[in-house]
């Protein structure tokens, strides 16, 4: 009501019409508004107002949820980037300060397996197998002391022989 109370209707009318017409205009306003006051509009019932208040509470709840979800969607990529950076950082830190890891090489020299001359390798392998068999027999004989009790020198000879075979094999 303050909006209407602050304005001077007659003054406003006088900006556009004569003083007499302005007075008549103000009178039309007053009489018409009196009629409107005589016929008040019905009011919504209390139940309806309660429903509206409940709808408002629900709308507020939905807005909060929506705002939270929007924030979560915005933060998710940032959080993901942080997690990745942290994971990489931790890994780098471990690699920098941790114990030296042992690296095991293959027991069998690579050139054995890289050989393309299969026939030659097979022949060598046959010779080696034969020699090993012979040595095995000799060992068994020595252990059972069947060649006159001179076992220690024979073992030494055998060991030398073993070393030579070993060298020959790996040198190809």
């Amino acid at each position: 009501m303050n909006g209407q109370n602050e304005e001077n209707l007659k003054e406003l009318f006088e900006r556009f019409v004569s003083t007499e017409e302005a007075e008549s205009g103000v009178e039309d306003f007053v009489k018409a508004e009196r009629i409107l006051q005589q016929y008040p509009a019905p009011q919504p019932d209390e139940e309806m107002i309660a429903v509206i208040k409940s709808d408002i509470a629900e709308a507020i709840r939905r807005r909060r949820e929506h705002a939270f979800r929007r924030l979560a969607y915005r933060m998710a990529p940032v959080a993901a980037v942080f997690i990745v950076i942290a994971a990489v950082g931790v890994r780098m830190l471990k690699e920098g300060s941790g114990p030296v890891e042992l690296v095991q090489g293959p027991i069998i020299p690579a050139r054995v397996w890289e050989s393309e001359n299969v026939a030659a390798e097979d022949r060598n392998l046959l010779v080696l197998t034969t020699e090993l068999d012979e040595l095995e027999v000799e060992f068994a004989t020595l252990e059972s002391d069947e060649n006159g009790g001179n076992g220690s020198s024979a073992i030494t000879e055998l060991e030398i022989e073993f070393a030579e075979i070993n060298t020959n094999i790996w040198e190809g």
Binding site: Q4, A32, I35, L36, D55
Partner: protein, 176 residues
């Protein structure tokens, strides 16, 4: 009309998302806004819907209120809601049919308002054109100054004054 000083903490509360403050706004404005909708539609159920739409919409819009006359701001939203309603094709058709039926029924049986009083005012309001009825109701229920109303309607104050004067004069003639 609530004073701006009284409203300021309530509006701040609404902006902070307080259901209690919104509830207070409903208590302050329901009577006038409902009266505005009811006199424009002549339908209490529809007025209930529009009133509900206004206050629920207010939850989302309250943050955009940057000061000034809250009544003016609120009634601008109410006016827009009513105009949106009118713009709906099906709804408008229904409204015109309802108006037609209403005017036809007036000839044989005058419509009575919910409290039993013959609602002569509502009958005569239908005889005014939409724009004039809207203007008279906005002036009466919003209790805004002509300057504020002309701002809401985006027209010069002289035009608003002239239209309102003619409308009120015509309504007075119809009611007498």
């Amino acid at each position: 009309m609530a004073q701006s000083d009284d409203l300021a903490p309530i509006i701040d509360g609404c902006k902070a998302g307080s259901a209690e403050c919104f509830s207070q706004l409903v208590d302050i404005y329901t009577s006038r806004v409902y009266g505005y909708f009811y006199r424009l539609t002549g339908d209490s159920e529809l007025s209930d819907d529009l009133l509900s739409e206004l206050f629920v919409k207010l939850v989302g819009k309250i943050a955009s209120y940057k000061g000034g006359s809250f009544d003016s701001w609120l009634f601008k939203i109410a006016t827009n809601i009513f105009h949106d309603y009118l713009r709906g094709k099906q709804r408008r058709k229904k409204l015109y049919e309802a108006r037609k039926n209403q005017l036809e029924s007036e000839i044989t049986e005058p419509k009575r308002s919910e409290n039993g009083r013959i609602d002569k005012l509502q009958i005569q309001l239908w005889k005014l054109n939409d724009d004039t009825r809207d203007l008279i109701m906005l002036r009466y229920y919003s209790q805004l100054s002509l300057k504020e109303i002309s701002k809401i309607r985006c027209e010069p104050i002289g035009t608003t004054l002239s239209k309102l004067h003619r409308g009120l004069k015509r309504l007075r003639e119809l009611m007498e």
